[in-house]
Structure formats: structure tokens, C-alpha cells
């Protein structure tokens, strides 16, 4: 039980839309262990984003429990929720949502504002995170001068700023080209393997979803019983067994030695 980072019990979410009741989530029971890399798939309107919002303390469920890092979120008063969002959750958005008037490192520092960390430590942490996502040299650039992929990497660094229990990524590759897509998914996979970061990624791209360790399916607000293992399992699968070069998880041929994997 102790390695459970996030658990939901009988989660229901009902919206009222134009006088009509819409059941976005229905009896969702989910258990996420520390170090999990989970992708949630489902067609549009299946409640993926709603689930993520509820998990990330942006929204409250109509019924049921959300236990995040041992705390029952549904019992936390509205005014205290910001603390959960600040320290327990890291958000990655489809549209990156960086502050356009702040440069890369300032964007990463932003969630640490108002924490007890001294300024120098915050700066160092932001710098380390940017190095980790491979953008140390571009730390003084504003989002407008970064490519979409780079912006998303900054956003991932920002999500990690307060060392959250879980990173929630809502269609993180939705606005990216193919190359940037695999870069981002690889980065998330790397974080998961190297740092043990727990990640929940919502996507409707089955290709990307397959890179996670667990694939869950959501339909009409219900979590389907079927679950799939993803291709992303171990670090060794990221390197060519013949020449040792880093490869894409879905490469069928090694780009260097050309051997079939």
C-alpha cells in the first residue's frame, strides 16, 4: 500500500451541460504505484481530461475518493487545494502554457515561487532541470524563440520543479510534429526510468500510448477492464543490442548499424 502514489475509489463526475446531465466519469477505480508510467487512451469525450483534472486537484469529483500521496483530496477544502497542486502534482499541457514574458529558466522557477527554498537554490534547481531536459544553453530564451518541442521540454522541467509525487500530462504530444513527439515521449520515459518519476499521460495517439509501461482505456467515462503492457519496460530497450547506440523504442532497424532489432 505504501508505494501507491495515487488511488481512486468509485470516482464519479457529473456535469450539467445546457440543463442536461453529462456523466463524464463513472465508477473509476484506479491504482497508480510509485514509478509507474501510465498512458490513458480513449476517444474524444471519453472523460480523459476530466479524469486528469480530478487527479490533479483542479476539479472535484461528484462522488468517490481520490487519494494522492496518502491524502484524501476530496476532504481538502477548496482553499487548501493549491498546496496539493503545488507540491504533489506536476502538470504538462498540450499547449505547453509557458508564460510568454518569462524566459525558460524563469518559467521553470515559477512553481517554486512562494516555497521556502532560497532564491539561489531555486535558480540552481531550475538550471539542473533544464540541463536534464537538454536545454541548459537555451535557458535565457523566451518561449517565442523556442521550438514547440523545446517549449514542451521546458514545460516538463517546470512540472518537475517541486519534485511532485506524480506528473500529469494531458496530450503532451498533441501539438507536436512526429520527431518532437518521439523526443518528448522518450524524455518522459527517461525520467520515469532514471528518476523514477511517476507519470500519467493522456493521449489518443496509440503509438505514443504504447511507449508507457501500462496502457489504460477509458470509454464513456468508464475505465475498461482490459489493460495492456507497453513497449517501454527497461532502459536496455532504448539501446541497440548490437552497437549500443541509443535508439527509438519503435525503431525496427538500428539507425547506425542497420541491423534488425
Amino acid at each position: 500500500m505504501s508505494d501507491l502514489v495515487l488511488a481512486t475509489e468509485k470516482l464519479d463526475k457529473v456535469y450539467k451541460l445546457k440543463g442536461r446531465q453529462v456523466r463524464a466519469l463513472s465508477d473509476v477505480n484506479l491504482q497508480i504505484k510509485k514509478g509507474d508510467f501510465i498512458s490513458i487512451m480513449g476517444p474524444s469525450g471519453s472523460g480523459k481530461t476530466t479524469l486528469l483534472n480530478v487527479l490533479g486537484c483542479l476539479d472535484k469529483p461528484t462522488y468517490g475518493k481520490v487519494i494522492l500521496d496518502g491524502v484524501d483530496v476530496t476532504k481538502v477544502p477548496e482553499k487548501g487545494l493549491f498546496k496539493m497542486r503545488k507540491y504533489k502534482v506536476g502538470f504538462v499541457f498540450q499547449t505547453f502554457n509557458l508564460m510568454p514574458y518569462l524566459n525558460a529558466i524563469e518559467n521553470v522557477e515559477l512553481p517554486m515561487e512562494g516555497t521556502k527554498k532560497p532564491r539561489s537554490e531555486r535558480k540552481k534547481r531550475a538550471h539542473d532541470l533544464l540541463s536534464m531536459v537538454g536545454l541548459a544553453e537555451r535557458k535565457d530564451h523566451r518561449p517565442s524563440r523556442l521550438s514547440a518541442g523545446e517549449q514542451q521540454r521546458v514545460a516538463i522541467a517546470r512540472a518537475l520543479a517541486n519534485n511532485p509525487a506524480i506528473v500529469l500530462a494531458d496530450e503532451p504530444t498533441g501539438n507536436l510534429d512526429t520527431k518532437a513527439k518521439s523526443e518528448i515521449v522518450r524524455l518522459l520515459g527517461k525520467l520515469n526510468i532514471d528518476q523514477g518519476t511517476t507519470i500519467v499521460m493522456v493521449t489518443h495517439d496509440s503509438h505514443m500510448a504504447a511507449r508507457a509501461s501500462r496502457m489504460l482505456f477509458l470509454n464513456d467515462g468508464k475505465l475498461l477492464a482490459k489493460e495492456k503492457q507497453g513497449t517501454h519496460l527497461l532502459k536496455k530497450e532504448f539501446t541497440c543490442p548490437y552497437c549500443g547506440k541509443e535508439i527509438e523504442p519503435d525503431d525496427t532497424f538500428c539507425p547506425r548499424c542497420g541491423k534488425k532489432l
Partner: protein
Amino acid sequence: MLVVIALGFSMAIMISIPAGIMANQKATEQLSANYNAYIGDMEEEINKTLTLIQCSLSRGFAQNRPGFMTTTESFLNETAVNDISAIEGVKDVLPFLEKTEGTLQTRETPRGTFEMLVPEYTIVGIPLNDAYIDNYGVLPKDVTEGRNLEEGDSGVVLLSLNNTEYFGVGVEDRVNILGSYFTVIGVYETSDRLGLRKLYMDISDAQSVTNLEGQISRIDVYAEDQSYVGEIVSEISSLYPEFYLTTYEERLSQIERMSGMYETTLENAEATLGQTQAVAYQEIAVAIVATSLIVLFTMLYTVRERTQEIGVLKAIGFSNWSVMSQFMLEGVFMSLIAAVVGISIASIGAPVLSSLLLPSATSSPTSGMQGRQTFIPGLSLQTAAAAPDLQLMLLTLGAAVLLGALGALYPAWRASRTSPMEALRHE
């Protein structure tokens, strides 16, 4: 940027108007003090001279209105002194020569163009006779440097303190007056509230330096006794019908007339000031409301524009309070910048702004005034130059913080209440 300029103007108005009012108030107070002192001096002087009959060709202090006097300086022949001395009951006859030197200025007023003599200094020629000096106080009393004039002095001059500044000389220096050099024998503290710079010298020196040989501007006739005054007046009138004679009673009634006139002017000035203040309060209120509204709408717009950003801030863990304080700070900051802009505008444009926005408190020359006028600096209500002082500027900065916070309060509160989910969905 435009918003800041608009705010700046609104703040400039907030500064300029009080500055204008303060300046007007000060001017009126100064004027009132000057009037009272002036009238007091005159009355005191008149009471001392019960036996004095003044003879001149002009009406002396004939005033068209406060602050200006008609200076048709006219001179009479010295020989009159001997004729008058011969009249029975006359004790002493003192000739004086007073000539004001100055520059002619043309003043454009809404009622027409006037030529005005702006006095620079007045030469006063005195009969330097010890008996006269002792008995009739013809010389200034409060000599602070050097010595006073004495019988027999020639080629020397007694300067008022403000004259030493004007000529740039001190005691024992030589001073050039209308082309002739005089030695400064002493300096007296001027009690002349009108600010006319007077310099005293022997009457014959004065006649030669002003090219008025054998001419004088005024004769002071002292009777043996007050009972002789009537007879002497009629005697002089028959000898010199062109003379204008004033006795104690006439001078007293003249000063009363003048005093009445001054009071009317003061009352007018105060009434205008009252009106001005009423208008000013309205304008300041409008400026304050405008400032808050500008901040309010700008911040509302900003909050709307940045809804998504607010959503992100909340998603990454900003509390309602920190979102609210951020927008409050922005509002205050904006209005502070505007205050600085406003102060800059006001320090340059306060006189213009306040004169544009406030009804004028200055009295303009009355119609029908003709001829050359002498402008008396101390007794005219001048256009008060509005200049914002430091206190007012600090007050404005304070007001800016307050109004910025006030205007930003509602938008910031709205921002803090935004649901992060809704905000993130906002395009």
C-alpha cells in the same frame, strides 16, 4: 502605453488643480496683507501731518484702480516756492522733485493694449536742510549702512536696500545714475511695501541729473497752525489756480476711498477663489473617479486576456491570494508609473492646465482705462503661477497607490476566483 498616458493626464489634473488653487490663495493672502499694511502706513503718515498742504500739478495718487496709477508726471516752476513762502501763516515750504525711471511695456489684455510704465527706480530730490530733516522726516529713518544724508551733501546718494541689488553697488561705491556718477553715502532698509525703489539725493543734484533745472514735482507747505490751513489754501489757489492742493482731510478721505476700492478688489478675488475651489473640487472628483475607472477597465481587460495564464498559475500551485496580489500589484504599478508621468506633465504644464481648468482669479484691467499706467508690483493680483510642490507630489504618489489598488481590486478578485479548469479551456 496609451492607458498610462491617459492615466498620467488624469493624475496631472489631480496635481495641477490643487497647485493652482494654492497659488491663487497665496497670491490673494499676500495681496490682502500688502493692502492692509499700505493703508496703515498711509493713515499713520496722514495723521502726523495736520498742518500740511501738498501742492502739485497732478492728483498725486489718483488711482484708476488698485495696482495702477496714472503717471502723468508734471512739473512746476521752483519760483512758486518763494511766492508761497510769502503767504501769511506759512511756516515752511519744502520743494521736492520725484521722478520715476522705468521701462515702457505694452501689455496685451483681453480688453485692449495698454502701455504701462514698469518702474525701475525713483529719484527723490530733497531740500537738504537740517531743520527740515529734523522736523518733517523727509528722509528715510532706518539707515542700516553708511550714514544718512545731511545738510550740504552733494554728489552723494542714499539708496534703498533693494536699489543696491538693482544697481549692484554698496556703500562708498560709485553709482551711475542717468549718466552721472554719485557716491553711495548710505543704505536704508526700505519700508516701501509697494516695492518701488527710491533713492534720495539733494534736490539740485536731482534737478540736474534729470534735466529738470528749476523744476519741481511737489511742494509741501506747512502752516504755523492748523487754523491757517484754510486761508493758505485759498491764497495758493488764487495765485496758482492750476495747482492741485490736498489737505489733511482730503488726504484722509482719499485714503478711505482707496481703502474701499482695495476691499472690493479683495472681495472679488476671494469670491472668485471660492468659485474656483468649488469647480476644482468637482474636477478633482472627476479625475479621481476617472483614474479608478481607467485602472478598473484596463485590469478587467488584462484579466480577461490572461485567463489562460491564470489557469496555468493555479494549476502549478498558485493560491487565490497570490494570483490576486499579483494583479493588485500590477494595477498599483501601472498607476504608479502613471503618477510619475502625471507629475512630469504637471510640473511642466501645471500653470497651463490649471488656467485651462479653473476660472481665472486674476482681475483684468477695466475698460475705459486710458493713458499710461504705472504698474505697482505689490498691489496687483497677478496671475498666480501654479507649481506643484513636493508635498503635493508625494500625495499624488500615495493617491496613485490607493486608486490603483482600488481600481484593481475587483478585477484581481475575479482573477483569483477563476476556476483553473475553466481558465485552461479559455482560448
